[in-house]
Each structure stands twice: as structure tokens, then as C-alpha cells.
Amino acid sequence: MTASPPPALALDNISKRFGDVVANQAISWSLQAGRIYALLGENGAGKSTLMSILSGRYQPDEGTIRLNGRPVRFQSPAQALEQGVGMVYQRFMLVEPLTVTENILLRRGPVSLARSRESRALRELAERYGLAVNPDATVRDLSMGERQRVEILKLLHRQADILIFDEPTAVLTQTESESLFAILRRLKTEGKTVIFITHKLEEVMAVADDIAVMRRGRMVSQLAADKVRSQHDLARLMVGREVILNVDKPPVTIGAPVLTVRGLTGPGGTARPSFRNINFDVRQGEVFTLTGVAGNGQEDLVAALAGITSLAEGSVTFKARRYSAAGWRNRPAAGMAYIPEDRDRVGSIAAFTLVENFLLTRLAEGKQSPLLNWPQVADETANAVKRFAIRGSGIQGLAGHLSGGNLQKLILAREFSRKPDLLIAEQPTQGLDVQATEDVWQALLRQRETSAILLVTGDLKEALSLSDRIGVMFRGEILDIVSARDTADIDRIKLLMAGLGAR
């Protein structure tokens, strides 16, 4: 047997710290050309940090990177790309007001001169890899899938051999994801090395040749994809224990509707509202879930229901009072609580203490004396911290110092303390670790005893664990509402999310 060529890319003992947090700990990994690698792990497992090191955005504290056996050091993404390592970030690195060609040729100098020759070369490149995109379109007008293709084209144009994708399907529809997979396979046959970060197990099964799993900053497992028998195996590797799929649901009697919406249509003109003709109701003691791939209108619907933006048409009946689309935004605030998706930038104020944050949404409640009763708020905060086991540096510490899970628990405690009849929770466990997720789920389930809950989540596991009924949104409409108890229905949810299988 002849000596095999050195791996296309080899990581040797890579470590990276941010302050006291160790993001990557002694990671070694070797990758061959012409294969697709899936890098799996939960949020916070250190996948993104590792890939940022590979692509030159961060420098490792220790360890070496070898390309085709030759040690390299990247001081910047540009240097990495120079050597053939390119990355497609979750947040695309495209200048929106410029055209596709301008974005790709940004570095080259006078575009007008280069246009004819270069743009022909680009077209050829795009055709070879099946990257359908109009080179003269402005990036701002492109869909997420098209933008991603521009990013890939950009890397190919710079002759990248190793392409890294950070959760590439997070912003894509089902169809777009499938065409991405086709592109990935095409890249593979052209001899490129593809790495993609994900936490969606079915994607791994669909395209990966090799799988690497990270947990808490370490590489815990590397295996060939054909050795994996089921998604459950992978899940166990990722989390380190069996995934919770069955949560204890304390039985609650379901009562009359608390919220009823009829014919809701969003702002943005009648031509293209982000959601239209939405009908559902949420009953006392029930968790009603809206799910769907991100960007199908659920975000705007929630913002309008929470009174942050306005509605164009329809009616809302809340606690037996009927509001018109225009009247809804100006209704009295009492009775409804909202847990926003972005807990750091919307749900809390990082530079405020826990006590101050505990007052944020409750300022309009109670006696409206001009003076604040800080000692009383501090007492309530201290109680909440105890009841929800919020770990931090005390109630006078800054909210910005709390970990995501503890901050979310603080927000839950605050919103629960308003004794809402209806609670809207948007992506309540996004980015949380398993323990915090479980805590949040338990808290939400307990809250069913006093509130109706409208849950908005893209996480199917979460939807199934918590809900009684699930409405699936696609392109601004609810395609169907299914019962979370009916197993036949559950299989349909995935189809519905892709816009298929509506009755």
C-alpha cells in the first residue's frame, strides 16, 4: 500500500478561551478532500467557535492547523480564503445595496471594466455547480436561499477548496434546503471538502459522509455516517443522554377560549401582508402552538398580537371582549404577558439590575404614584430568584451577567407575576442548554393552571412536548391545526411545514 496523501485539513489540539469560558478544548480532527463532514452539537457546544478559528475569524490559543500537511496560521478570514478555506456564515457577509457581481468582485477594482469578462466567468462557474442566481440582481432583493448561493459562488470564485457552512438550513425552506444539499453533493464530486454545522439530525443522515460530534467544547465522537443506525444514536451522542421527548404534563382541565382571532391580516399593504386570514383560538388551560419554518409570518403575527405592531384586518376577542384590528393595539395592557424571542435585547435590559428588570413590563400596573417602591420590588425579585432557582450574583447584579437560561427564568418569573390570562411565549428555549430547557418547559406547563398559553416555536420537539394543539404556518397562513396527541397528525406536521399535505 502506498503512503496515503496527507489530509486536506487537519486540526491538532486546538483550544480557545473567551475570558473564563473555554469554548474549544484540545480538538483534533482530520478531513479528506471530496467528502462532506457534518459537525454536530447543541448550542454552545463550541462548533461555531471552532469553525471561526478555521476560517481565520479567531486565532486559536493553542494548537495547529494543517492544510495538505502544511502548517498554516490565519490572521484574518481573508488570509484563510487566500489559502482556500472559506466560510458561509449564518449571517451572510453580503453588502445588501450592491449587486451580486459587485459583491463577488468587491476586491477586484473597477467593476465596470471587468464586468463583461468576469461576469461571463461567474456565469460559467454558477452553471457548473448548479448555483442559479442572476449576477445583476441587487442582493437586497434576493431570497435567503439565493443569498446563500451568492456566498457559495463568492467562495468558489476565490478558489476555495474547503467550504464551511454554519447552520446553512436555518433560514431556508424545505425546498431550498434540498437544493442546497444537491449543491453540496456537487461540490463533493468536484473534490471540495465540505463541513457543515447543524443540529438537525435528519440533515446529517441525508448528506453527510462523516460525522463529528462536539459537546461542551470537546470533540466527543467521530464516525462514518454509514455506521450510524438511527437518529437516536446521534442524539445521545450530542446531549450525552437520552433526549427528553415525553414531558410529564400535569393534567389541567381545558376551559373556554381566552383568545379568539378571526381573519387577522398583517400590515405591509394588502398586496403582501406577512400573514393573512389567521383564525384560531387559545383556551383556558391549553398550550396552543404556532409552528413553522422561520420567516413564514409567525414572527410578525406574534408582534401584532403582543401589541408591538399593528394589524390591518380582522378581529380579536380577548376575555370575552371583542376588538377591531385597529382597536387591538390600544387595548388596556392588563391580562396578557409576552415572552419575546430575543431575551437579551428585547426581553431585558442588560445594564439594569435584576430588580430593575423585574419592573420592566410591570410599570403600568398597580397604583400609579409617581414614586417607585424599590424595597417592595426587591422583595418580589428575591422571591422569584428563590422560586425559579435563578443563579447569578444576587438581585442587585446586572442582568447582562446572567447566563441565557437564568435570564430566561427571570423573564418568565416576571411575566408570570403579572398573573396573565394569556401568556405568549416566543421561542422560549432557543439557545438554552438541556437543563435550562427542561426548567423552562416545566415552568410553562405549571403556568397552564392559571393561563392560556400561546407558544410560538420552530422547534418541533418543543411543540410536541408542550402543546395540546399545533397550528402550522406556511407563507403567512395557517395551513392546518392538528392535535398533538394524534400520532398520525404528528407525521403530517413536517409536511405542512414544507407547505405540503394541507387538507
Binding site: T361, L371, S393, G400
Partner: protein, 366 residues
């Protein structure tokens, strides 16, 4: 052991104690270079400035006199900046405060019961400043027009109008051509203390500083203002009306600057005349940021700037250097503050040479 520099993560953290001293040191150092460049011994120059500002009770009382409008304009800028608004129009608001106070003292005072004259003058001054600040406030709140530029351009308009008044319709008929109005009624003059030029404005300014400090911390209004300033999106989520607060805060900010103008007219000049718009409005920006927007620190920062101004005047009379050197030093001080705040964003951390391989566990920052 190795040291390395690391970025602090959170903007809300309290800045280290050395930020202000470092800024001051930077200003003194650069100032010394400027003096050397001018062929003046920097020690001599600083000695003159110190002697001229705190060398005697009289000199110090002059520093306090300068500090009074600076406290008020500093509060005005700080108040607006707490809510991410830039009120660069304090100069114009101060001028309007002065115009209204002078108008009250000249024309209204004889028709008012004597005990009401001073309160009415104060209210008129505050109202004049507040209304002038209302223009950029409304434009910002409802059309999102950049308040930096509108408030600043309004300064020029206010000054042109004031000049028109004292060159034209309000000109003192017995002024021998001297540009200025007649003196305001004795009743409209605010009282002075200790035989100096220190006047009632000091008490007003200090009380207002304390009120604003308390108001921001202990009232619902203050909570809303701080929340909007720190995170407008979270404030919107909480249902606070950002527009209403913008208008309210600009009114208050303008009122503070207006009181500064009122105090200058009713406590120092006793008439509307050239020397009213001498840049206290712009100095207020420096005062506010030196005080790190803390209302209780504003009076101290104002005293420092007052000393700088009075000291600069001493340089003119003792060493024949133009007094505007103090303006250069003010700018250098502000740059020094920006520099040391940048340094404060980083901290030196010690880390062991050998990586601790067991320390993979995530820990919360202390």
C-alpha cells in the same frame, strides 16, 4: 504567569475609578506640550491658572460664578443624553432663557406684585428655553429628524434674534450706542451671597441636580427614561411611549438651559447684551460627559471647567496668552476622556502559562 489584554464584555459595567484622573492627566500633559510649544514654562502657566482660579476666596467665587450656568447646561445635556438624545442646542436655549428673563425684568416686572417677580422670571426663563428645545424634540419624535443638527442650527437663529432685540427694538435709549438693553428692574434681580457675584442660581442648580438624580432613580418617569436610554427596543416591548418621553425630556433639557440664561441675565448682566452667549451651552457637553451623565457629578465637573475658564483668563492677564487656550484644553480634556474610556473597556487579566485542561467547565463571570 502571563498577562494579556482582554475586552470587557458589558457596557453597563461601572467604569474603573481611574478613568477621570487619567483623562485629566492626559489634558495636563498635552497642555504642557502646547505651553512648551508657545515658549512658556508649563509649570509657570499651570501655577498661574491654579492661582487665578483657587488662589483666593475671590478667585474661587468667580469659578463658582462660571460653574452655575455650566451646572445647568451640563444637566441639560446629561438629561437628554441619558435618553440617547444629543441636545447641542443649549446655547440657543440659554439665549432664549435670557431673552425671556430680560423681557420679564424690563417690561413685566413693574406690573407684577413684587414677591412674584423673581418666580415669574425663573418660570419665564425656563419656559423660553423649553419651547426652543421643543422644536428639535418634536422633529425628532415625529419625523426622526436628526436632533444634533436641528438643535445646533437653532443656536444661530436664537443668537441672531437676540442681537436683533438689543440692537433694535429693545435697545437702551440711553445706552450711548452701546449694544444692549436697559438694565432690568431691581425687583427682577436674583439675590447674591457673601458679597460675591455668586447668586441664587447656584442654589437652583444644585437643587435641580439633586432632583434630577432622584427623579431618574426613584420615579416611574425616571425609570422609563433610563430604560429607553439603555435599550429602546426593550422599552418598546414594555410599552413605553418613546415619542412622549423624547418630547418631555427635550422640554426639561431646554428648561434647564433656559434657567442658565435666566440666571446669567438676572444674576450677572442685568440686561440683554453681547456676553450672554459665550459658549456655556457647548461647555455643557463637556461637563455632562466628564460627569459621565451622573447628575450628582455634574456640579463637580462644572467647577473644574469653571476653573479652567477662569484660569485661562488669568493666563491672558498674567502671561499675555489668549484666553481661548482654555477652549483648547477643554477639547483636549474631552479627547483624554474618550481615550481613557477606551482603555477602560479593556482589562488586564492574568492567566497561567500552562493551560488547565480540567477547566473546560463553563463558569459565570464574577
Amino acid at each position: 504567569m502571563a498577562w494579556r489584554i482582554e475586552k470587557r464584555t458589558l457596557s453597563g459595567e461601572r467604569a474603573p475609578w481611574w478613568v477621570f484622573p487619567a483623562a485629566l492627566f492626559f489634558a495636563v500633559f498635552v497642555g504642557a506640550l502646547i505651553f512648551i510649544g508657545l515658549g512658556v514654562n508649563p509649570l509657570e502657566a499651570y501655577a498661574a491658572m491654579l492661582k487665578g482660579s483657587v488662589g483666593s476666596f475671590f478667585h474661587f467665587s468667580e469659578v463658582v460664578v462660571r460653574a452655575i450656568p455650566l451646572i445647568l447646561t451640563g444637566l441639560a445635556v446629561a438629561m437628554a443624553a441619558t435618553m440617547l438624545l444629543w441636545n447641542i442646542g443649549c446655547e440657543g436655549q440659554l439665549v432664549w432663557g435670557g431673552i425671556c428673563a430680560a423681557g420679564t425684568g424690563l417690561f413685566l416686572a413693574p406690573h407684577l406684585p413684587p414677591f412674584l417677580v423673581i418666580p415669574v422670571t425663573i418660570v419665564a426663563g425656563a419656559g423660553g428655553g423649553a419651547l426652543w428645545a421643543l422644536i428639535p424634540g418634536l422633529l425628532k419624535a415625529f419625523l426622526n429628524v436628526n436632533e444634533i443638527l436641528t438643535s445646533l442650527l437653532l443656536n444661530y437663529i436664537a443668537i441672531i434674534f437676540m442681537e436683533h432685540l438689543y440692537f433694535g427694538p429693545w435697545r437702551n435709549p440711553e445706552g450711548f450706542g452701546f449694544p444692549g438693553t436697559a438694565q432690568i428692574s431691581d425687583l427682577a434681580r436674583i439675590p447674591h451671597f457673601l458679597g460675591t457675584r455668586i447668586h441664587l442660581g447656584l442654589v437652583l442648580a444644585l437643587v435641580l441636580a439633586a432632583l434630577i438624580y432622584g427623579g431618574l432613580r426613584y420615579t416611574r418617569w425616571g425609570y422609563r427614561v433610563r430604560a429607553i436610554g439603555l435599550n429602546p427596543r426593550a422599552a418598546g416591548y414594555a410599552g413605553f411611549s418613546i415619542r412622549r418621553q423624547i418630547v418631555g425630556v427635550m422640554l426639561l433639557s431646554g428648561a434647564l438651559a433656559g434657567i442658565a440664561g435666566m440666571a446669567e441675565v438676572s444674576g450677572i448682566h442685568f440686561r440683554l447684551q453681547q456676553g450672554l452667549a459665550v459658549g456655556y451651552g457647548y461647555d455643557g457637553i463637556i461637563v455632562a460627559w466628564l460627569a459621565r451623565l451622573n447628575p450628582l457629578a455634574v456640579p463637580l465637573a462644572a467647577l473644574l471647567l469653571g476653573a479652567l475658564i477662569v484660569g485661562g483668563e488669568q493666563l491672558q492677564s498674567l502671561l499675555h496668552l489668549p484666553a481661548s487656550i482654555s477652549m483648547v484644553l477643554e477639547a483636549v480634556l474631552l479627547f483624554g476622556l474618550l481615550l481613557s474610556e477606551t482603555l477602560a473597556r479593556y482589562r488586564l487579566v492574568r492567566r497561567p502559562d500552562a493551560p488547565d485542561r480540567s477547566a473546560a467547565k463553563k463558569e459565570t463571570a464574577p
